[in-house]
Symmetry: D2
Subunit: 298 residues, 4 copies
Amino acid sequence: MRTLITILFIICSCALSRAYEIPTEGGKVHNISMPGILMKGDRNYSVYLPEGYERDTLRRYPVLYLLHGLGNTNTKGWVERGNVETIANRVIAEHRATRMIIVMPDAGTGGPGYFNREGWPYEDYFFQELIPYIERHYRVQADASHRAIAGLSMGGGGTLVYALRYPEMFAAACPLSALVTFPARSGQANGGSAIDKYPQVRAWAESAMEPENLPLDLINQADETRLDAFRRVRWYIDCGDDDYLYEGNLRLYLLMKEKRIPMQYRMRDGAHNWLYWQSALPEVMAFVSQAWADGKGN
Amino acid sequence: MRTLITILFIICSCALSRAYEIPTEGGKVHNISMPGILMKGDRNYSVYLPEGYERDTLRRYPVLYLLHGLGNTNTKGWVERGNVETIANRVIAEHRATRMIIVMPDAGTGGPGYFNREGWPYEDYFFQELIPYIERHYRVQADASHRAIAGLSMGGGGTLVYALRYPEMFAAACPLSALVTFPARSGQANGGSAIDKYPQVRAWAESAMEPENLPLDLINQADETRLDAFRRVRWYIDCGDDDYLYEGNLRLYLLMKEKRIPMQYRMRDGAHNWLYWQSALPEVMAFVSQAWADGKGN
Amino acid sequence: MRTLITILFIICSCALSRAYEIPTEGGKVHNISMPGILMKGDRNYSVYLPEGYERDTLRRYPVLYLLHGLGNTNTKGWVERGNVETIANRVIAEHRATRMIIVMPDAGTGGPGYFNREGWPYEDYFFQELIPYIERHYRVQADASHRAIAGLSMGGGGTLVYALRYPEMFAAACPLSALVTFPARSGQANGGSAIDKYPQVRAWAESAMEPENLPLDLINQADETRLDAFRRVRWYIDCGDDDYLYEGNLRLYLLMKEKRIPMQYRMRDGAHNWLYWQSALPEVMAFVSQAWADGKGN
Amino acid sequence: MRTLITILFIICSCALSRAYEIPTEGGKVHNISMPGILMKGDRNYSVYLPEGYERDTLRRYPVLYLLHGLGNTNTKGWVERGNVETIANRVIAEHRATRMIIVMPDAGTGGPGYFNREGWPYEDYFFQELIPYIERHYRVQADASHRAIAGLSMGGGGTLVYALRYPEMFAAACPLSALVTFPARSGQANGGSAIDKYPQVRAWAESAMEPENLPLDLINQADETRLDAFRRVRWYIDCGDDDYLYEGNLRLYLLMKEKRIPMQYRMRDGAHNWLYWQSALPEVMAFVSQAWADGKGN
């Protein structure tokens, strides 16, 4: 009886709201900013704080850094298109993942993205300012075995390079539909004109073309000690069978197999779009949760 | 080489668009309207026409009628929140479902919904005007074995009642998170005040409370001949384990088991929201495709 | 090159073995026995020890107790039909679950099963002898927050009753296709003859019919303190839409909803068979791993 | 009430049988043989006939040819390890696939397998004797648009080569964990000794090494007309991320992309074993059903 009355009230509220959907309870996404020194000016970011964060004031949480793609920002991306709040609440509610903080930084809509360029020391900002800021301002388990990174497309490339440059910083890394290889490597002559036309693409492509930002080179040049560091990161790589970025991802898979770097690889049905990334996110959250639970090096 | 240049051009276009996502090729959703006689005035509807519809001018297609929930319309619902175009294109591209026309009618945001009321002969409109209109204006396989119906929440209730009232009209019926039972049945005294407060809920509740619109009653009162007609429809029922409408759906399951009406039932993890319905739609499309392929009565 | 030679050798070995399947590396199932006092004589059990158990001699592991169904034993059941070794190795290798010990006891093929009867003090044996024996003889994390229980059919009933009788003993409980209600409750008169015919069924049914072994009664009779204890266990309940035991499971779901005992419930497509249980096991392993990771009471 | 009595009887019967599992109703696998002319002597095969085959004596069915791997036979393979009867019954019962006949031929445990060799004209037997025999002796829809082929490992290689040699014979082809490339191509010198040791592997490797049996060569050498024929087959390729045959499968994917041959490709979690193939079979059955429903060339 009481259930039914409750239902009626829910229906009433819904009928008056825009859409007949029950809002998920649980964590919330906050869109805010932090002061930036290296990047000269405030930097926006979004942060998902899980259910109970306000209440359990002694509890500390692991952190997933979640990177957006080219043309997106911290809000236009995982927050608005990726439905991160609803998905994270569901996955945590069904106990497939642990309660975590998800930090979504802003690498700009068109600029050079996640790598350092003159006047855009983004990678330095990420490791020297963003991570420390998050660990000072939120109740975070501030060590590598409770930190993970994931991202899509250009942010998948960022995920790869960050975790290959600083493997000791992350328990797990999950590049999704990642930009692994770049036109410049095999087709600069023809690609050049396209790059010239659009200055923001040029800025991004130039930073991505630097040898130190090419994931396959970073793996190829690694010695055994370095490879061992890569092997201690848990990798989860996912790229759809209809994604136009398939080639770089498969070259990555073949190279990691050759170098005996353990990884999980998925080629599910799908293309380079939000349907794919929305369905990848629960797997990523479960995967990093298990990595955190097992501890590094398991 | 050519692939890589292509990629660069795609990236360029994306960088300039709002979001770095490759648009799906394939079918398109059109939001239009049709003249209404019974309903006195034009009625909006949305229609998804699959890839190739314009080109293969001799080919005819099966039709899925897809109903929205309370507080939604034809556009605010499956089209905007449900991502129907992208999902349908993907499911068809991966050959999990056949090319189909999907018709999404508009039953109003707050009114009495899918059932007949004074001044709102919606069910009559649906069967006497909408279906014939669609079958005249689109290249449709205009028979019951190529017609199916599905819907969510209030539209799941509509799906149920329509398929129970006209079982000979549909090869398959797929109520999702359906409103199966109503407060009025067991808690009218207390529910009444809530109904009084919001006139649009009152209008809807009154139509839903009519004995002829109660799915469980329709099944309970059916004789063997009628039950046989129900048994020839292929049913796919889906309601999440955290959906507040679980009780009506489980009573439906138990009753159909008792009456030996074969059905598929899923209780996946999830609640009453678009995450659930977006992940249900591919299953629905595959299910109705197989029903059409097998023909009625298999 | 070396890869290809390796392949050839693998193929060679396979061609000479019975089936062309690469054996999974990883943990192993051992079929052994332990001395029994209460049960008067040795009791068989099977135990899955994960990859690395022999090597990492300081590491301790959480334990999943996994119960068989009526007519099975520790070996004829999860080991032979359920493919537990291969599945557990896969799920752990892909990091969906943590490395765990899985203990599969033997409750007899036809006898009274998991409950105490005259001359068959099985429940006492389970809690007073088996669990302590396992915790003495294996490197176990010997506390409730690293212990879970699951089982199928009659073993699902055992799982339910054990976790309801000793909720403080388990972090998680996962009844699969569980025998929740019994004929005796509503149809003793007619059911009696069937029971009379087969003595082993009689023995089992009599123990299951005892009021203290009826899961729904245990929940109905619980006061708030007791219900709170139930709420601290993480429940994962799974019963297929074509399983003939659907009714008891759905009554359990409805009762747990009424009593506000949080649970995960799945009704996937399927019936009362090993296909269903084999596909349930990875979910169970992931679910209990997350429960162990989060600690009790999260 | 009657349900409960029924349950008791089911339980009784089960308690007396070896395992507490309800047998699936539906189709049956028959292990039989047919006279062989080319192969000089009777050839065994297994055939799954779907529910209703005996009863609906006018109905004709589409056919899936399902090939075993090296070291298996028609029975030791899909029938015994692959659980084909139970899986096919489930997938058809839930309407994910249409009722079909599944033919599982015997290509020998160690011999040259699916290709023609001196004294082993297997491919000729397959197309000139087996298919015609099946179409004469069973109620089959005996045309290419109702015929499909699938197989695992060595049978995946057979599937590929058969569908590339006779693309006009099959609506769909589904190689699973397929043997696509062979050691001989890049490592004959070292591989040779292994081949020498085991005569049955030598026989098989020699037939597989023939240029006309190398799938990648068949695609590379095809002109546009031939490629168009390949494009009309619906391809579903599946190979786990831990399968040691990943390289050949990925080379196949890259080549088909380059040649614009549409395909579905899956890299799920898993290795070269029956867990993987059992979970692939429902997808294969659904995929070929949709191909048959749509007709060739859609």
